[in-house]
């Protein structure tokens, strides 16, 4: 009867139970389900100029990628891409800063902590479009014009902040408070303690949260669509294209935007890995 990780170590020499094989097959099938359709799309985005939206491939070309930057129907894609990157950068920085402060605060109970926690849960589970609807309505009542760095930024923060704060809870929970006590005993001011002890120790987690917020913002559409004003972000531009463009250009856009996401994820993971390895080396 081997279920726990511990019992495996005891019986590592013996064979795996049948459940291992069953679950391994399930996991493999899940990965195929997760990546299969995306791979099909990436391959089809390299379709030859005379090919269609399904197999077979009629040659291989970059024609559909060239279509994205060609002036014409797709003219808005590069501009909206730049807008998305700018917005996501702002969302990412704000989310990381606000989440770390909030997660540190939640280590003790304070008046209103329960209320604020459930407000964050509510903001997370609220149907996304309704958040944008409410903010859009508010701007209308106040006579303000919705725009990228006001209403759209705000709408996205109601989504990235709960995620950021909850992820940061996990980061902070693992943090050993005796480091802070040691800093106190050595005479550090609260600010010194934060910048020289707490922040460096939590840095990998903070970078992770910042990346999560960046990708969530970069791909967000339901909260943003009603509050963006007249200048679309990339996901909204793609959304508008779905009905009109049924050429492999759509797949090419999908391949490019996924490549951007992968690049950001890879850079972040590499950075975190680097920090942790340096730390492991220093510990020796």
């Amino acid at each position: 009867m081997m279920i726990g990780g511990q019992s495996y170590q005891a019986g590592a020499g013996q064979g795996r139970p049948w459940t291992f094989y069953a679950l391994a097959i399930l996991f493999g099938a899940y990965l195929l389900f997760l990546y299969g359709p995306m791979l099909v799309m990436y391959v089809l985005s390299f379709q030859g100029p005379n090919g269609g939206v399904t197999f077979p491939m009629v040659g291989v070309s970059l024609a559909w990628f060239a279509d994205i930057v060609k002036p014409g129907q797709m003219a808005n894609i590069p501009v909206s891409f730049a807008r998305s990157i700018a917005l996501a950068s702002a969302v990412s920085l704000l989310t990381a800063a606000i989440s770390i402060a909030a997660a540190l605060a939640f280590r003790r109970r304070f008046p209103g902590s329960g209320l604020l926690f459930y407000l964050a849960v509510a903001s997370l589970v609220m149907p996304s479009l309704l958040v944008g609807f409410g903010i859009g309505l508010g701007f209308k009542v106040l006579g303000l014009k919705p725009s990228l760095f006001t209403s759209a930024l705000g709408a996205q923060l109601t989504w990235t902040l709960p995620f950021g704060v909850f992820a940061m809870f996990a980061v902070v929970n693992r943090f050993n408070r005796s480091y802070e006590e040691a800093a106190d005993d050595l005479g550090a001011s609260p600010w010194q303690r934060f910048t020289h002890v707490t922040l460096p120790i939590l840095l990998p987690g903070i970078i992770g949260v910042a990346m999560g917020a960046f990708t969530l913002s970069y791909d967000e559409y339901a909260r943003t669509t009603l509050v963006i004003g007249d200048k679309n972000t990339l996901p909204l531009e793609i959304y508008a294209l779905i009905s009109s463009a049924t050429s492999p250009t759509l797949f090419a856009i999908g391949t490019v935007t996924t490549a951007v996401s992968f690049l950001i994820i890879a850079l972040t993971l590499w950075r975190i890995f680097h920090i942790q390895r340096r730390r492991a080396d220093a510990a020796l």
């Binding site: 299969g36 909030a102 304070f110 009542v141 109601t158």
Partner: protein, 307 residues
């Protein structure tokens, strides 16, 4: 060694034990630290929600909306058969997707935590599951079109294997496609929280169950599942609310056969009928709120997250 060269450093602390910062009340520090979060959630979430709750009682016509206190918007909404139909349809999707993602999520989390022996392999497997979540949901939805279509990759594969003589039509632009895409998008929301609960289970408990003669199945039902309850609840909340709040997947993948609550609502917003749209929004928020509150009664989610 350092203490020999700099003996003065710890002394002031000893001479002045009452440091000035100790006088600041801890809860005041907490308040300062959460103030940006509280400000954003109140101004950009709570107040807008309150606003559409107010507007839901307003009157409107083709030219504008007028402050009033009428219940017509709610009466119209709740007496339309389309409302019931769309709620039943969304709830059905939610239940089916919940069952699928729970089955996949629990088993995959169990595999990753209890069956994968190497920590490095486990991290890599986790990342493989999580990475698509950090890419565009719109793109991941669209990706199914060339895969499931009449001439899509899946049908071509089936025909090449001679499993079917003509392409299957129900795969794309159907309820089937909607469920597939939901499972594709949201299974990770189950895997994460459940895996988080499973890691906290003390392996010695499982050993104890085994020593007491429990079968693999008994250990699972009596030890593992109860101890992963908070993770299951948290994942369920995330998946169910995502499905109930969706307006893109149903619109895109059902081929117009199904509507979702939010896509009906979006149509009203586009027609600038804000009071009835607000009434629909309030009803949906209450409905989702009751669902979430019900699920939260099963486990203390706050304890799981904050500790």
């Amino acid at each position: 060694m350092t203490s020999l060269t700099r003996p003065a450093a710890p002394l002031p602390r000893l001479l002045a034990p009452a440091l000035p910062r100790r006088r600041v009340k801890p809860w005041l520090v907490s308040w300062l630290q959460v103030s940006p979060l509280a400000f954003i959630l109140i101004v950009l979430f709570a107040m807008p929600t309150f606003l559409f709750a107010v507007v839901s009682f307003f009157d409107y016509d083709r030219t504008g909306i007028y402050p009033a206190f009428i219940l017509d918007n709610y009466r119209d909404l709740l007496t339309t058969p389309a409302t019931t139909r769309v709620y039943v349809s969304s709830l059905t999707f939610a239940v089916i997707v919940w069952a699928i993602t729970l089955f996949l999520g629990f088993n995959i989390a169990h595999f990753l935590i209890f069956h994968v022996r190497s920590a490095a392999v486990r991290t890599v497997f986790f990342l493989l599951c999580a990475i698509p979540f950090w890419t565009s949901g719109i793109i991941r939805t669209i990706a199914w079109i060339p895969f499931l279509g009449r001439n899509g990759a899946f049908n071509q594969a089936l025909m090449a294997l001679q499993l079917t003589s003509r392409p299957l039509d129900f795969l794309l632009f159907s309820d089937f496609a909607v469920i597939v895409v939901y499972a594709h998008l949201y299974t990770i929301l189950m895997i994460g929280p459940i895996a988080n609960s499973l890691t906290k289970i003390d392996p010695s408990l499982l050993e104890a169950a085994r020593d007491a003669g429990a079968s693999r199945w008994q250990t699972m039902v009596n030890v593992v599942i109860p101890l992963s309850r908070t993770g299951i609840v948290l994942g369920s909340i995330l998946v169910v609310t995502q499905v109930m709040g969706d307006y893109f997947v149903v619109r895109q993948m059902s081929g117009g056969q199904s509507a979702s609550i939010v896509s009906t609502l979006a149509t009203e917003i586009q027609a600038m009928q804000y009071p009835p749209a607000s009434a629909s929004a309030v009803v949906l928020v209450c409905f989702v709120g009751i669902l979430v509150a019900g699920m939260m009664r099963v486990a203390d989610v706050r304890k799981e997250l904050v500790k």
